[in-house]
Amino acid sequence: MRQRPILSAQHLTLGYGSHLVTENLSFELFEGEITCLMGPNGVGKSTLIKALIGSNPPIKGDIILNGKNLNHFSRGSLSRQLSVVLTDRIISGNMRVKDLVALGRLPFTGWWGHLRTNDRMVIENVLQATHIEYIKESKISELSDGQLQKVMIARALAQDGKIMILDEPTAHLDLINRFEIMYLLRKLAKESNKAILVVTHDLEIALETADQLWIMSCETPLTCGSPEELMISGEINQLIPGKKWGINSNTGKIELNLPFQYPEVIGPDILKIWIQSAIKKLHPLSLPPHLIIKAAQKPFSIEVQIGSINQAFSSLSEFTAYLKNNFKKNS
């Protein structure tokens, strides 16, 4: 059994003033876990984040942080429980990395903001944990996007709260940095037992790194569960409005829902997947119903059987050219 959640809510209604954005949200956030909040644009993710960080209280319902109503926390005490990484641009290019990270200690310092030994120790630790010690003297304006994101995560870590909320930390990052950031967060969640909530649109990375997914969609308010559970039950498809697109339950990838079932490829897995992917790109095709495709690797060959006619190809491009010339439907 899991421990009790650090942050939870039952049947929340969120909005601005009288304008309702979303209702009936229930969720639980656990320490030591990384939770990904996903959903299409405009569904209310930002509104939920604003509610969680206390800047836009819910219209109805209570958010419970550590057994206490979030509304009863002062700004100061909330800042010692919860830290954020936002999408706001940092314009203070003159600031050095270690000074920016040191700002995370602000809730713990006195009027003058003097750093004590303990504060310095925390800063050193988070610089190490996020692997940015080597740039601690650099100016913010000299950093790459990926480095800056790590610095912002380090700053949030220095705030030393139990909960960390990140709003699209991997947007604008290159492929490897996306994985690095998410694996870094995962490591931090496990090692320092923090509850980390990440808003992301990166399905692939979320499936791989998240302990829990919170899926917000227009029809159902919030679905929670492990990525694997949601994948098996098919609830993961709530991420995608409409019928045009779907998530392939084998690969976890988003695909066009094609009205026509393309033939299976017989052969090794890698050829199956990629030959089928190549066939789908030729859509729309009108293939004869009894068409059989066999593929082999080393040497590479594709064989097409239509009734008693056999055709063999030694490369994928020859094969796709053949399909295109003979079966392409003019749409």
Binding site: I53, S55, S74, R75, G76, S77, L78, S79, R80, L82, S83, V84, L86, D88, R89, I90, I91, S92, G93, N94, M95, R96, K98, D99, L100, A102, L103, G104, L106, P107, T109, W111, W112, G113, E137, K139, S141, Q159
Partner: protein, 344 residues
Amino acid sequence: MNNPAKHTFYFLIGIGTCLIIWLFNLGTGSVIIPVSDLVKRPFEGPFPREAWEIILMEYRLPKSITAMLAGIGLSISGLQMQTFFRNPLAGPYVLGISSGAGLGVGILSMAGTALGWQTMVGYGAGWPIILAASIGSILVLLLIGLTAWRVRDSMTLLILGLMFGSIASAGLHILAYFSEAEQLKMFMIWSMGSLGDTGWDQVKVLAVAILVGLIPVILWIKPFNAMLLGENYAQSLGVNTTHLKWVMIISTGILTGSITAFCGPIAFIGIAIPHIARMAFKTSDHKILFPAVALIGTIGVLFCDSLSQLPGSYQTLPINAVTTLIGAPVVIWLIIKRDFSKEF
């Protein structure tokens, strides 16, 4: 925060420069008093030449202190506004705060004429003018605040500031139109800016007002650092940004208002000095920047004032013209040459 030794060194250089410019400032003018005599003055008592004594004690000394106070107040207003609005082009003059102060003084002096008071600069009374000018400044700040608080776009903020400044100036011009000839001249002179119209009485009042305006800044120095990350991050660090907004409005209002009341509008000090300080000290930590800005502001206004007293001549150029002639090119250079995002 970083490299305290270097910063101490810079502060020492700054204080040295300040003293040299101050001596130069006290020495030059229609009558030249040699620096060697000026240095001896505090130790050897009054000058044997009575004219020197009067020029120094009754005119140049209060004037130079006014210049220093103006430099401190305007630059610190500028730094607060730039940090709060996260806009490198914000400043008390550019955003029309000085015009608001002017309107406050104008209304007070009109009301004063109607009621038979003598309130215009040079006639004793200090507090009513400071109060009126501060209220004028704060009103413009509030208007900008109400309309542009969440505006992150530099242009919108500047255009709004320009508009409110224009409205305040228009009000001031209407007042001037209905004024008597003598008052009109006084208003014209005031609007060109002058540091020399303050006697000791006004200097004392001004010093107290500046001190009062600086207190909120000193008390809230840490939140200003948090504000460098923007309002949302500042809130997540436990800063009450609504309080900070009021700190900025009241402090800037008092500082800009009181200086404008006594010296008239002084342009470009508030916008240019914070950038020079950031460039020189290479930091964005307000614990360094606030004193640095005060020091460089002092040097800046003393320097401009020294330029305005053409040596050997009886003429004095309006201070506002001199600060504009020097400050505007600095700002133009900043916009063209420097990437603001890297210096801010």
